[in-house]
């Protein structure tokens, strides 16, 4: 019985996203694809950590409609991103813009990788030195 109740609760809990299905449909599959991509990379400004595609908030619905209308008007993806940034700021984009101010953000992963490789090389070299130094005592020990 307990298990049934638990399962029922779990089913209810996981059913929430089912209500969030976005019914916006385009005739052109290419537009549909771009719509889906854009709504997933725009932040819902009321709920912050979900995209407007996944949010049920009224404002997110308004912004989805806006994306839809701009796409139908023939605007490019960048136009639509600019439209949103001009109103809500860069914060609305999940993917930060690749401009000078965000340079460190984009370069940081490569920089950390290079630092990691340098450290690894240094450690390996030092260990290699240790092995040659340790050679004799180890043999001595083994011979005993």
């Amino acid at each position: 019985m307990k298990r049934v109740i638990f399962l029922a609760m779990f089913a209810l809990l996981t059913s929430i996203p089912a209500f969030a299905i976005d019914t916006t449909r385009f005739e052109d599959p290419a537009l549909q694809e771009r719509y889906s991509k854009l709504t997933h990379e725009l932040r819902c400004m009321q709920c912050l950590n979900t995209s407007i595609a996944d949010s049920q908030v009224d404002l997110a619905a308004d912004l989805r409609r806006e994306v839809h209308d701009l796409l139908v008007q023939g605007k490019t993806d960048d136009d639509i991103r600019q439209f949103m940034v001009a109103r809500y700021g860069e914060f609305i984009l999940f993917r930060p813009l690749a401009n000078a101010r965000n340079m460190w953000l984009w370069l940081a992963p490569s920089a950390f990788l290079i630092i990691g490789v340098l450290v690894a090389v240094r450690v390996i070299r030092q260990r290699a030195k240790l092995v040659t130094q340790d050679d004799e005592p180890v043999e001595e020990e083994a011979g005993r």
Binding site: L59, D62, R87
Partner: protein, 179 residues
């Protein structure tokens, strides 16, 4: 000793980066509007109080005004309503309302019951003008100067304290936005 110096340096660097990151966290960014220092978006929308008439942003150009986004479904709007009424009685500056995603009947009833602090109320049912203003929730209050430039944006309920601290000095022209 030397072998601890490098990890310690990395830790110190990380600590600084995280501290700066938290200091400038997105939550702080949401509080400032990108509109500040820019012209207030134009609109021409139906007038809530006069059927058939319209309210245009052009009407209010030439003098500073306050632009207040509200709705009857918004509890904080109820909280700030009394303050707005009192501010409107001081007649320092007109308050222009934007009735956002609301029902006219409910809005009329609200004004009849609580009083009307607004010089004019524009009706924005589809929420397009609210998007132009980058509104993320109600209430939001903008201060627009005589040149039609947004000087300040308040997200949340207006209080007398906030009015005195943020709006009065900007209205007096003591603190203009440098951008």
């Amino acid at each position: 000793m030397n072998r601890f110096l490098f990890p310690l340096g990395v830790f110190a660097l990380l600590a600084v980066v995280l501290y700066v990151g938290v200091k400038n966290s997105p939550n702080r960014e949401t509080m400032t509007s990108v509109l500040i220092g820019r012209p207030a978006p134009q609109f021409t929308l139906p007038d809530l109080t006069t059927p058939g008439a319209s309210v245009s942003s052009a009407t209010f150009r030439g003098k500073p005004y306050v632009f207040n986004v509200w709705a009857t479904w918004c509890p904080s709007c109820r909280v700030e309503h009394q303050t707005l009424l009192e501010l409107s009685k001081q007649q320092e500056v007109p308050i222009v309302g934007l009735n956002w995603r609301d029902e006219d009947d409910l809005a009329h009833e609200w004004l009849a019951r609580l009083g009307n602090p607004y010089a004019a109320i524009a009706v924005d049912k589809p929420g397009r003008t609210a998007i132009d203003y980058g509104v993320t929730g109600a209430p939001e209050t903008f201060l627009v100067d005589a040149n039609g430039i947004v000087q300040y944006r308040l997200a949340g309920a207006m209080t007398h304290e906030i009015w005195q601290r943020e709006f009065v000095p900007r209205l007096a022209g003591k603190a203009t936005v440098a951008k």
